[in-house]
Amino acid sequence: MLNIHDINVYYGPIHAIKGVSFDVNEGEIVSLIGANGAGKSTILKTISGLLRTKTGGIDFLGQSLNATAPHKIVHMGVAHIPEGRRIFQRMSVEENLQMGAFTQPNSSIAASLEHVYELFPRLKERRRQIAGTLSGGEQQMLAMSRGLMSKPKLMMLDEPSMGLAPILVQQVFNIIKTLHDAGTTILLVEQNAHMALSIADRAYVMETGKIILTGTGEELANSDEVRKAYLVG
């Protein structure tokens, strides 16, 4: 579904992604794990077109995304739930969801809203509330629902567990599983390696702009290297 081959991404003179290649197949949950600054978020931003690669390429459903404008990539069925949630703080909950459905025909928005409110009754209660006043967990719910409103084929989540209490982290991962069961392919970026590996079909471990390890979620969770680096403590 998503094929990334030999991408090199730069921030000015800084070489952030060094020749990374990987695949996401339809129906999978794929996790990218690694320490801060390894380049995980940079990869997601490059897929959604906010950053560009100097070499290689990104193909989604057989079409190249290399020069496609970010808003067109959303049209093609890629939703990116960015790091730090990035909800529209000054808009209401429902307006945030409507923005999520920007690519959808007006006639289908009401049904999508109903669907999201069914999944997250909490958001329905707060639909008129200004999004900036929601708690951290609710904001993450809103960010994920907003991504869902575009009816994505591939959903990319960047650190959805960041800054959340353990019980909410569990809830967020349950939601990811629910979305996956409903047929959405998931590309998950996480520092919480334990959780990310536990739900992943396959995972890639990144370090300073390169992929250093790959395997199924289970294999990596049991690998000595990963255990030493990310899972101990």
């Binding site: 990116h80 529209f88 703080q89 923005m99």
Partner: protein, 295 residues
Amino acid sequence: MSVFSTIFTQLMNGLQTGSVYALVALGYSMVYGIILLLNFAHGDIIMVGAYTAWLFMVNFGQSPWVAVIAAIAACTVLGVVIEKVAYTPLRKAPRLSLLITAIGISFLLENLAQLIFGAGARPVPTIIDVAPVTIGSVSISGTAIVTIIVSVVSMILLNLLIKKSKMGKAMRAVSEDTGAAQLMGISLNKTITFTFAVGSALAGIGSVLYCAAYPQASPTMGAMLGLKAFVAAVLGGIGSIPGAMIGGFAIGLAEAGASALGLSVWKDAVVFAILIVVLVVKPTGLLGRNLQEKV
């Protein structure tokens, strides 16, 4: 004239000029809200609107209605063209380059106008021909009434557009978080162009109303008007749409207040004194938000 009627007359004068300032200030604020650019060419768009009205009425012998529509259309198109030609190529450049470009465009427009139409002022025929309304001992000019009504209606429509329409919501989303807005599938180019078009159309309405009150077109007429509208936008909180409206009316009323106290030669100084006070006391303006730097 009694004290009451003096106050009332000055109040109407203040609201009349204030509504023009507000219309122009909206353009400054909307553009700043969306691409953080102080578009100093915005004032000169008004000058182009005024010349268009003059051209259509005097040279082409058209009715005021046609001239009004032509002026608004010319301003809208010009605003969009400036954005496409001058600002779009600088989307990723430092903000200072954009600001300098805006000042350059401003000089370009003023000098082009001088080249084409000459340095002298061209008298614009009557645009709004409405009889004055007399209440008791006070008479209010028809132009003032029409100006205030037209600008209030424009502002209500603008508010509806921004609150309810899809494009309006996209504008708010882009102004809040450009990156996240793109991830929603919002086209940055379209939204920015739309913002310039709406802002410039409001300036076009402002230019016609301004010419109704001060019936002449000159190459530098937009400079002072633009600066005052800019002060209005800063007073209201640049980037805030209700702020621009309140700021515009406040600046208009402050000028009228200065005139009422016999300080009419000082009224420009009063406006810029307000700017200094705002920048010292509350740089975010009345309704502005603290800009949080994103990491």
